[in-house]
Amino acid sequence: MSEQEWPLYEVFIRSRGGLSHRHAGSLHAADDQMALNNARDTYTRRSEGVSLWVVRSDRIVASDPAETSAFFSPAEDKIYRHPTFYDIPDGVENL
């Protein structure tokens, strides 16, 4: 018998219509359909959702924690990217 572990999947749940799917956790499954079943049986037992997404964890392309400074820090001092940076001239309506 094979002792190989089933691949890991990430589970996303939409709790009700109109909201976006949110990451709920992960699970092991041998294939996509099994992952969907397992997500239903593991994460929606108490009516947590109306829609499920599952995706193999190794298919997710993630940012590297070691690259955090290059990825995210440059945004910190670019205050002009925020609308609050701009003065609104008097007399501008409907903004």
């Binding site: 089933w6 699970l27 092991h28 359909q33 079943n37 397992n38 049986d41 593991t42 037992r45």
Partner: protein, 252 residues
């Protein structure tokens, strides 16, 4: 037998099928090698126990003799249980468990769908609740059968063996007895002949997808519906009933 008596006995029999299958599945709690399948099995088992409770409490109301669902589950002897032989068969290996589930659920789903259209409102309501659960159980079990049948040589061979072994317990499902007839004439109940045709068709599809072969064996075991059970049944019932019989009235 009045139509009311027939209805009560019929509902009781539905409860017996659900209870005994649920009990069999509960024997597997904490035995699954994967956490997710463990949860699925326990969920499904409790779905059947929940269905048994709905059927039993309705049967008690029809009877009007003050018996409770617990009395029906825990204080009836073996021959008063009228569940199918199929649902009392031991869990065996995983292939046996899955094949038992597919064989029963294909039948049970069609039966519940027919009961949703019967003229007894309460029974139709219970059937509608159970139908949603069973539709999912079947999806789960059928996918597993395809994985096993269309998997490795070993899993294919084992799944085929399970199908061959359990086949002889399927004939009883479609055997029309006095209760089935009474349900059909008085309450617009399920037509087991039509359900048998549907069962053969749906099952053939699943079995073909699983690259397995439908057994051709015609000789069938019978007796469950008459209360004559296989030798495994006494052990199952003993485990199910020992606690309330040893400590009557025990509560949590």
């Amino acid at each position: 037998m009045t139509p009311e008596q027939a209805l009560r006995a019929y509902v009781l029999r539905l409860g017996d099928n659900a209870l005994i299958l649920g009990q069999r599945m509960l024997e597997l709690v904490a035995a699954y090698p994967e956490l997710e399948e463990e949860l699925a099995n326990a969920n499904f088992a409790l779905d059947y126990i929940g269905q048994a409770r709905m059927f039993y409490s309705y049967a008690c109301e029809c009877e009007g003799a003050g018996r409770s669902e617990d009395d029906l589950a825990f204080f009836r002897p073996e021959h008063e249980f009228r569940n199918l032989l199929l649902v009392e068969q031991p869990n065996g290996h995983f292939g046996d468990t899955i094949v038992r589930q597919v064989l029963f659920d294909v039948y049970y789903l069609s039966l519940l769908e027919a009961l949703m259209r019967c003229s007894d409102a309460r029974l139709a309501e219970i059937a509608a609740r159970a139908e949603k659960e069973v539709r999912y159980h079947l999806r789960h079990a059928a996918q597993w059968l395809v994985r096993l049948g269309d998997g490795t040589d070993e899993s294919h061979q084992k799944a085929q063996q399970s199908l061959d072994d359990l086949w002889r317990y399927t004939g009883e499902m479609f055997e029309v007895d006095a209760l089935d007839e009474a349900m059909m004439t008085s309450f617009d109940g399920p037509d087991l002949n039509a359900i048998g045709v549907e069962w053969q068709k749906k099952l053939s599809g699943i079995v073909a997808e699983a690259t397995l072969t439908l057994p051709q064996e015609k000789s069938m075991a019978r007796g469950g519906k008459q209360g004559i059970h296989s030798e495994h049944f006494g052990y199952l019932l003993a485990e199910l009933q020992i606690l309330p019989r040893t400590y009557p009235g025990a509560t949590w």
